[in-house]
């Protein structure tokens, strides 16, 4: 058992004795479950988050014979802590923890919207996942009684509906942007409230691309849900399908062959590299640096072609399977792929050098869109965004999987938390990914690429990965005949969109698109 967890368990025993049911789960003792009454939730979660500095992973709501709420936290060593509470099916009121653990804010809003639960003390529930101008009151699609296969009757469209304005000030102006805006962008609406040049409030309205994935997964076969996992966010498809696979494999006690684990790392890092290169292209474009944007775009297409010619699919769809991968790759082909990746990485270094010598470009990024370390922590930001603000948690190190603990790589970190820090971080992480790709293809283990049959068991488990955007958690519960009973998808974009306004507010209006680009957020990954 990791020292961190042992210490935590001792303190929890001393501190909460009779009020908490402590149990160590998981064969390797890496997960600890703390069961408590709903009324104890805020205090316990706050202790984990504020005193023990555990990260808040997310909230999983399940409607079984009674309500089961699971708050997943993780530490910097291999240790998960799940705080679990129950309430009879007849009740629906829980205390809100987001006053103390602000990272839980959007999780509670989502559960209120989709399950119809009440989080007492939450200041700002309301229009969120289900848009109030579309949905009738009282529809709770995630409840078991709701049939997700049928269309729903909506309100008559109200063409004049607008989100609530917050800034009341002489000269205040609300600029509506979206949901269809700019060229080829994902649907999101911003109400930018400005006074003069400065953006005072920049609350995004999301979930235009809400496809109800958690709901439509229910009742389907697990391997079909894998196809849904790939399509949570097409640009992070491999990461999400890997998270689901690892959840199912943990549940079913499947040990993935070494070759499969190594190939998974190879593909996951290829995807991360491509994701970061696309993000870099976005930043260059947002500042109007057309030549640099074109160069980065060339590299993105190069990586898409490398993925396409090696695996058949430019976005790495159809590769992950329970127990390994759906197909094997020739070692020589992987080597050629890695060599091509190394060329891309070289060009990326040249691009970085040129950008860091372009003062007009740097002027647009430096000291713009700042997120402080404290804010990043309170809002539970993840991935490169958090690491650019000095918060360095990375699940590949904190909760290793796929043999990442045996791979040598760095988790880069910056401290300024501004646009330039985020851009530098993308470059540095891309470089690390390229290194992992070439190291892992140098000695790919021989052997099987898949365990032929995975015996699906009943029960639930958590799968996790460090997706390109940050921590992704998939909670999967299987019932009879390998059918999915509950699939909870917690994505990095959901965490980071929550904190996005921190960066955008109090900066000038013309900086807004640049700040948005440096966050490289996925709407699809957020909306699900």
């Amino acid at each position: 058992m990791p020292a961190e967890l042992r210490e935590l368990v001792q303190e929890a025993q001393a501190r909460w004795t009779s009020r908490v049911g402590l149990s160590l789960d998981g064969a390797d003792g890496t997960a600890c479950q703390m069961e408590c009454e709903p009324s104890e939730l805020p205090e316990i979660c706050n202790w984990l988050f504020s005193d023990r500095h555990y990260s808040f992973g997310g909230l999983v709501v399940e409607q079984r014979t009674r309500w089961e709420l699971r708050y997943a936290f993780y530490g910097s060593e291999a240790s998960w802590v799940h705080v679990v509470t129950y309430l009879s099916d007849a009740g629906d009121r829980f205390p809100s923890i987001s006053g103390l653990v602000h990272a839980a804010d959007w999780h509670e809003r989502e559960a209120e919207d989709l399950f119809g639960l009440v989080f007492e003390g939450h200041p700002r529930l309301g229009d969120f996942v289900l848009h109030n101008d579309v949905w009738q009151d009282g529809v709770t699609p995630m409840r078991k009684t709701f049939d997700g296969r049928k269309p729903v009757t909506h309100r008559a469209p109200d063409l004049n509906w607008k989100p609530r304005r917050i800034v009341e000030e002489t000269g205040a102006f609300a600029m509506p942007v979206g949901p269809v805006h700019s060229t080829a962008t994902a649907p999101v609406y911003f109400q930018l409230e400005t006074v003069g040049e400065d953006v005072i409030r920049a609350q995004p309205r999301l979930f235009y691309a809400y496809r109800g994935l958690e709901k439509i997964a229910e009742g389907r076969r697990a391997d079909d849900v894998l196809l849904i996992a790939e399509r949570i966010s097409g640009t992070s498809a491999f990461a999400h399908s890997l998270a689901l696979c690892q959840g199912v494999e943990r549940l079913c006690h499947v040990e993935v062959p070494q070759r499969a684990a190594s190939l998974r790392v190879f593909l996951a890092e290829l995807e991360r590299l491509r994701h970061h290169v696309a993000a870099i292209a976005g930043v260059c474009e947002s500042t109007g640096l057309a030549v640099a944007a074109a160069h980065a775009a060339i590299l993105e297409e190069d990586l898409l072609r490398i993925s396409g010619s090696l695996t058949g699919h430019r976005y790495l769809f159809g590769l992950n399977a329970f127990g390994g991968l759906s197909t094997d790759f020739d070692d020589a082909a992987c080597g050629r792929g890695a060599a091509a990746v190394a060329q891309v990485a070289e060009k990326l270094t040249v691009l970085q050098g040129m950008l860091s010598a372009s003062s007009s470009f740097l002027d647009r990024l430096e000291e713009v869109g700042i997120v402080s370390f404290a804010n990043a922590r309170d809002f539970g930001l993840v991935g490169p965004i958090a690491r650019a603000s000095g918060l360095s948690r990375d699940l590949r190190k904190a909760q290793p999987y796929c043999g990442y603990d045996a791979i040598k790589f760095e988790v880069p970190q910056e401290s300024e938390g501004d646009g330039y820090a985020r851009l530098r971080l993308l470059f540095r992480e891309a470089e690390q990914s390229a290194r992992i790709v070439s190291a892992i293809t140098r000695d790919l283990p021989a052997g099987r690429f898949r365990i032929p049959e995975t015996d699906l068991r009943q029960g639930a488990a958590l799968g996790w990965v460090e997706a390109p955007g940050g921590a992704a958690l998939h909670w999967i519960r299987l019932g009879e005949e390998g059918r999915v009973e509950r699939y909870r998808i917690i994505t990095p974009s959901f965490a980071n969109w929550h904190g996005f306004r921190l960066a955008a507010e109090s900066f000038a209006f013309q900086d807004f698109p640049i700040i948005l680009a440096t966050f490289a957020l996925s709407v699809h990954e957020n909306d699900r």
């Binding site: 296969r149 080829a184 649907p187 790939e230 699919h313 769809f317």
Partner: protein, 256 residues
């Protein structure tokens, strides 16, 4: 600034020569399954592999409906008698009866064309492939195609995604705001049939019921060249896939 000019010149010309010359670079297209001759027993078991009912037994073997196919590769990898798989990217078909022959749509679109892209709720892959059309490899400006952010300037509406309930009104408003004559190109299995998302409380199962779609581009996601072909079809500068009797011909329009 001169460093950028030099760098730009040293990179040389990257652009594909499609549509004048076929593009054959590796990794530009995932290809698609095509109708396969098989005994009826084998055909039955193969059909069962498809998660979205894209495969159907035919007299000679198995037919595939490209509007449904989500590129999951199960019919080629998970079986000993796989479907035939074919490269290429000229997959677009004309969906409405107005242009069944795949002939020119008329002179209104013979010059530069402005395109409004609406993401009606996809996974982001189709949208990303649309974005690639502006990268130097595809550089669609050279063909007179331009993306526009405003429906008032748009000649073609390019829709991706399964059409979520939240995007119905924005999509309708965008379409209505476009001047006539206008064309609608639906790209990707989700926009055509709902794809893996199907029909549900949140998804309409494609945009066809909601808008008059002129051109359909299958794929999950369709690669940039396939989308480019769809746009060329929409403006009458390329024949549809069906007119070659290639995969995804008009025979299967309306199926599923």
């Amino acid at each position: 600034m001169s460093q950028w000019v030099i760098r730009g010149l040293r990179t040389g010309v990257k652009s594909t020569r499609y549509p004048r010359v076929e593009e054959t670079a590796a990794g530009t297209s995932p290809g698609l399954p095509v109708s396969t001759a098989l005994s009826s027993d084998l055909a039955q078991s193969l059909v069962a592999h498809c998660p979205v009912d894209a495969l159907h037994p035919s007299i000679t073997g198995v037919d595939v409906s490209l509007r449904q196919c989500i590129h999951c590769f199960r019919c080629v990898r998970a079986t000993n008698n796989p479907m035939d798989w074919k490269g290429g990217y000229e997959w677009a078909t004309a969906a409405s009866d107005r242009n069944e022959k795949g002939t020119r749509f008329g002179p209104a679109f013979s010059r530069s064309v402005h395109i409004l892209v609406v993401d009606a709720g996809d996974c982001g892959a189709c949208l990303n492939e649309v974005k690639q059309l502006n990268n130097p490899y595809y550089n669609m400006h050279r063909l007179g195609f331009f993306l526009t952010p405003t429906p008032r300037h748009a000649d073609v509406l390019l829709v991706v995604g399964a059409l979520t309930d939240h995007m119905r009104l924005p999509l309708r408003k965008a379409y209505d705001a476009m001047p006539t004559p206008k064309r609608v190109v639906a790209a990707g299995a989700c926009a055509l049939s709902g794809g893996i998302f199907g029909q549900s409380f949140m998804c309409a199962g494609g945009v066809g019921e909601f808008l008059p779609v002129d051109v359909e581009v299958p794929g999950n996601p369709p690669p940039p060249l396939a989308i480019l072909h769809g746009l060329l079809v929409a403006v009458g500068r390329k024949p549809t896939a069906g007119s070659h009797h290639g995969p995804g011909g008009p025979a299967e329009n309306g199926s599923g």
